[in-house]
Symmetry: C2
Subunit: 351 residues, 2 copies
Amino acid sequence: LTHVLAANDVIRIGSALFAATGAPADQARLVAEELATSSLMGHDSHGVIRIPEYVELVERGTIIPGAAPRIERTSGGTALVDCAWNFGAVGAHFAMDVAIELARGNQISCVVTRRCNHVGRVGAYVQKAAGRDMVAIAACNSPLHGHFVPPWGGIEGRLGTNPIAYAAPTGGEPILADLSTSVAPEGKIRVYKNQGKAVPDGWIVDAQGHPSTDPTAFYGPPRGALLPLGGPAGHKGYALGLLAEILCGPLAGLATADSAAFGNGLCFLVFDPQAFGPIQQFKSLVDATVLYMKSSGRSGGDREVLVPGELEFRTRQQRLREGIPVDDPTWEAIQQCARRLDVDLVALESG
Amino acid sequence: LTHVLAANDVIRIGSALFAATGAPADQARLVAEELATSSLMGHDSHGVIRIPEYVELVERGTIIPGAAPRIERTSGGTALVDCAWNFGAVGAHFAMDVAIELARGNQISCVVTRRCNHVGRVGAYVQKAAGRDMVAIAACNSPLHGHFVPPWGGIEGRLGTNPIAYAAPTGGEPILADLSTSVAPEGKIRVYKNQGKAVPDGWIVDAQGHPSTDPTAFYGPPRGALLPLGGPAGHKGYALGLLAEILCGPLAGLATADSAAFGNGLCFLVFDPQAFGPIQQFKSLVDATVLYMKSSGRSGGDREVLVPGELEFRTRQQRLREGIPVDDPTWEAIQQCARRLDVDLVALESG
């Protein structure tokens, strides 16, 4: 059974629930908009499904609504931002706003975070920068309990799926990439598990390090591992995941193996293309690069050459028209949250 | 037949030959040292083999010895460097020196290049930054004739093998990664071709886009293509290669599909860890991260967990003791260069 919600209804419902947990109205809305956008763009694992999860994290004291993110230290084009354990999206948007502002003054900036909760779709923040005519790169790490990915040559998880995202402005929608440095994000294995299906070859190993297609061999216990991006060239995925870890962990003064850590670490890099030439020239050159990619012969009859983000922007258009599918357990959990928090869902749905 | 040269002999021979083409002594030595270091670290495709190639590029007017690299424009933490078509290593070292200096003032810097010849091993430049207690990331692109890599879903080359390199200082040797965003660098296919061997599955397609293991199907004509990193997740390798292209092409004001372009484009990012905390704290945290990686169980009896660069530093130690193997065609080409340039090789070899 699937419930279909209009994006605006998701935003209204999420805003009301987060506000009922104690979040200021603007921050409640920002988090709800972020989750609605993730669902609109097809990233369901970072979308509506997180509304009840975030409510529970507030109830458990993990998320502190209204806590004020602040710049802990800044010099030159850099800043270390304390996200104060507010919603991850509140901290991450604050950090990206700082990075964009620093890039206006220094043409290049680097912002790293501490005490940041789950940030959701990392692409959201670089997408924001591209909307301000900036190029941005983001790296994200996870703490010990999310270390699903072994080093190359190893079998025990030592790194998160550590996504790297980037965005660049064009004449139209930005180029927008958001990729885990493992062969797949952990959420995709969870989907196979929930559906009782085998995962593709080459994704996971069991706790003994043997190749497996059984998602329960990954989740254990004992837990298996999710392989780094690259297959036979997995040393490259490992190197990229380790780069994200260095930028989000040690650079921010945080230990990789800290067993008490939770939430996400972020490193944002923002480039002002106007440092090197007029912004219109940059956008025209990127547009030409996109056309050049698309001029390649195709590998299959109906297989299209896309640039990163293109599929997500199409899904957004479709779901703005047709609504966002919400599975039954998620809709049930949202209704339970509403009852606990005394929020009237019926009054919020436009119907 | 293999000739074995001591690293110092490679430097003496290379310096003498490059100086004989008109390079100032310090620049001739810098280029020769760079090639010797690449060979020492096991990157033979970017090492001694390039000495006769570079001599020929000077003779053809592609490399302009002694031409002065300069900062074309600079603002905040950024600079656009004109490498003036000197040897690529001269331009790239100049650009990295600018980036390190900018990072001292701004804690984060970004330098892009124009008019830069073949830069060799991209890892060399980030390694230099790590030696100055900086973290550095480099991206590198290639012009049209080096577009071996198709976009995801395509079959015709539209991107170079666009390496991404990074280095971070530790208590010992730096972490040093240098990876093409294709499944393998083009030079490795050349080695298979020269040996008359099949390349591994999943590396190349022929001109019709069909999977192949025949290196001659890759080189053509008609030319095939070298697949992006990631196998079934090749959209990720494509996204990373496209990122390198955006940073080295459009950001520097250069068109991706310019058929007259040659040489390499570079984008250097340099981070001063002291922006966020004491340098010793950063190095200790990275050392702890390395130990944590190595604490993973191993995937095979004698398969070791390494960090990026570790194998290269071991090879360097070995080749400093045992010398650098130089194949017969390369040694013959070096002797021909020496005769043309009236350089006495015998006097240069320590024997």
